[in-house]
Symmetry: C2
Subunit: 323 residues, 2 copies
Amino acid sequence: MSGDLGPRVAMLAAQKFAVLYNDVDLLVVGDEPQLLNLISANKASQNQISIVHAPDLVTMDDDPVVALRHRQSSSMWRAVESVKNDLADACVSAGNTGALLAISKHLIKTFPSIDRPAICKALPTAKDTTYFLDLGANINCTAENLHQFALMGQVLAMSSGAIKPRIGLLNIGTEKSKGTDIIQAAQSFLQDDARLNYGGFVEASELFSGNFSVIVCDGFHGNIALKSSEGTAHFIAEKVRRLLTKNWRSKLIGVFIAPLLKQLRSELDPSRHNGASFLGLQKTIVKSHGNANEKAFLEALVVAREQVLQQIPTRIQQQFLNN
Amino acid sequence: MSGDLGPRVAMLAAQKFAVLYNDVDLLVVGDEPQLLNLISANKASQNQISIVHAPDLVTMDDDPVVALRHRQSSSMWRAVESVKNDLADACVSAGNTGALLAISKHLIKTFPSIDRPAICKALPTAKDTTYFLDLGANINCTAENLHQFALMGQVLAMSSGAIKPRIGLLNIGTEKSKGTDIIQAAQSFLQDDARLNYGGFVEASELFSGNFSVIVCDGFHGNIALKSSEGTAHFIAEKVRRLLTKNWRSKLIGVFIAPLLKQLRSELDPSRHNGASFLGLQKTIVKSHGNANEKAFLEALVVAREQVLQQIPTRIQQQFLNN
């Protein structure tokens, strides 16, 4: 019901998802009259979609604590609850990140040996995918938290085919002496853990190099790195747009290179990489970007399905049992 | 003598700088035989350039503490010392950042009311310049440090023409409740300081928006934000290069849009924005990027000259006396 664009996007994506994958059933949780209205346009996927009514919703501005206390009748709460009660295998939401995290932690819980869930996203790189975590779930992290993030990220990387995923630790330099005490302590944990292929410190300039399968950091640093890269891409795109509309000659060039720009935009398209996982929880919860369009929301649904099929939560549990 | 490209770049830039500005005299500090060899090619600027011999150098890998203890005969030490002894108004170096900072703090000192110097850089934005600090001098900052950074950044912004520079505090969200305890405390200081036009929290995605004249953060966050943006720009440039060399048709397009790409590259050119200031010191010290080419090093020299003419250190001192 929430997200920047409201329930329409989620419903359209759900219908497309049901058509694409006939092995899935969908519970669409929210205000029933509104949702019934949205679904009527498309009959093909109807037998895979059930609507679950929820009279309330979590707004984008709700404080997570408020959501936790007063939003038990919200669509978000009920969707997560359906996962808790095994009515669903996974939950995807484009709503308030902090609230989704708080409700998920409360209802689903992390595995006993995992202190906190981490938000993890697959980054496009010059080579293979890089799994980057934490992206904002944990503002302050201990070295133990960072170590756990590495173990969880490794599971995702291996499930997508990496044999000995190279793990990097985000820092402001690659020399071994760099960084805060926490980062120094985390380095020791990662080096000493025989399960991990630790590759050393990574600077933020290397995020998209593809030299690491997993990059670990605290949620504050992850948020800054990712948002800074979004801002830069936007800044460059705006520069290009201005250059191409300056005069008739540049406009002509613009027409000429339109297919090229389209391809570039498609390769860098954030909607192709939508769907952040809350790793460490006992079930699959996927966060879609708040301003995700239909295509992007669909991508988040695909991520959730993949993680259910790959049994990511169970594999993470096993990873920690091997301690 | 140091930097990734050695003394040749600095000497070439110095000679060009002397030709461009006949109000400057230059002390080029380093290994005299090598420097004499480099200068011989150009006579025009010779009467503005003196060579000061230094038998040793700080390497890019030297630990700052080692540099401080054992590199008193290095070119870096002697260059900073010449500023301390009023033989020069400013020092520009492309060498080891940590060592330059340590030596500068040791020899030049900060003003009494300033705890630590901050590294500040002018970012290109969609509108005016944004002064961004700290970029790595201080890994851990107190709220008081961040407040001081704001006061120093304001001086730079006003010296470049901003009337009531809008000050932002880097955070992972714009809601007032977001961020660490330190950021929350810094927010109070900035809000309560009548000298400052505090504009609230800034997310890293807004770094290049031009909506703030000054953006303040601790050195760890600043380093991550800036390097992440460098990495993203590099990633996009590489994507474009690949697209333009894929087949004969894309190569033809590449030839056709070469002037456009050249202009784009020039507008985004990091060498146009080279020269980071160590604010808070009693004299002007400017850090050129380690891999600066001649043009970029020249830009750092221009920044240093401007800060001397604008009496930035004195203005910063006055800003803190108005407390």
